[in-house]
C-alpha cells in the first residue's frame, strides 16, 4: 500500500524533504512506519493520520496521509 507522508520541523530536517509517498507492507502501523524509515526513536513524536491524532498502533491504509508530530511549540 502507498502512504503519503508529510514532514515538519525536526522530522523534516532529519528526513531532508517535505513529503514523499512510501510503499509499506499491509499491517504497517504509524509507529512501525516511523521505525522503518530509520527516524530516531529518541524523538518523542506523536502521530496523525488524515488530519486526526492517532495512537502509534494505528494500522495504515492505502492512500493515508501520515504525519509524525514532534513536540509542538505554537502560541
Amino acid at each position: 500500500m502507498n502512504v503519503i507522508i508529510r514532514y515538519f520541523a525536526q522530522v523534516r530536517e532529519l528526513r531532508g524533504r517535505d513529503e514523499e509517498t512510501v510503499t509499506f507492507p499491509a499491517g504497517t502501523t504509524a509507529a512501525s512506519a516511523y521505525a522503518a524509515l530509520g527516524l530516531p526513536v529518541a524523538l518523542p513524536v506523536a502521530f496523525a493520520v488524515n488530519l486526526e491524532r492517532v495512537p502509534g498502533s494505528t494500522e495504515l491504509h492505502d492512500g493515508d496521509e501520515l504525519v509524525f508530530l514532534p513536540p509542538i511549540g505554537g502560541g
Binding site: R6, A9, P70, G75
Partner: protein, 136 residues
C-alpha cells in the same frame, strides 16, 4: 475567524470579526515573540504549521467553546513563517455577554492551542537555532 497568517496579525481586525453590541466583554490575548527565552537571547523566530490539521484543530476548539459557553465567539490567528521580535505570534479574541465566560473561554483556547494545534517554533540565537516545544 480562524486563520494561519504569513503576515503581521491585525489584532483590530480579529476583534472586529467577533465583537458585537450584544457582547459586554471582549477579551484579547496577544502572545508576542520575546527577546529572551529560557535564559538565551533570541534574535528571531519562525513558526511552521501542518496547516490543514492546524486549521481543523482550531476549528474544533472554536466549536468546543461554542458548545461549552453558548453565545461566546472566538477569533484566532496564528502567525507562520518568520516573525520579528515584538510582533504578535498568536491572537485570541473572545466576545461574550459576561466576563467570566470570556476569561474561561480565552484561557481554554490558548491552553488547547498550545497542547493540540500542530505548530512548531524555531528560535534563532547568535550561535544557532533550536526547535522549542511548549512545556506541558
Amino acid at each position: 475567524m480562524v486563520e494561519l497568517s504569513p503576515h503581521p496579525i491585525d489584532v483590530r481586525a480579529v476583534e472586529a470579526a467577533v465583537a458585537g453590541i450584544d457582547c459586554g466583554a471582549l477579551l484579547s490575548f496577544v502572545g508576542t515573540a520575546r527577546d529572551h527565552n529560557r535564559g538565551r537571547v533570541v534574535t528571531g523566530l519562525e513558526y511552521e504549521a501542518y496547516a490543514p490539521m492546524a486549521l481543523a484543530e482550531l476549528g474544533k476548539i472554536r466549536a468546543e467553546i461554542a458548545e461549552r459557553w453558548p453565545g461566546v465567539r472566538l477569533g484566532v490567528v496564528h502567525r507562520v513563517g518568520a516573525v520579528a521580535l515584538g510582533e504578535p505570534a498568536v491572537v485570541i479574541v473572545v466576545a461574550a455577554a459576561h466576563r467570566a465566560e470570556a476569561y474561561d473561554a480565552s484561557r481554554y483556547a490558548i491552553e488547547e492551542l498550545k497542547s493540540r494545534v500542530p505548530v512548531w517554533k524555531r528560535e534563532h540565537y547568535a550561535d544557532g537555532t533550536d526547535w522549542i516545544a511548549n512545556r506541558s
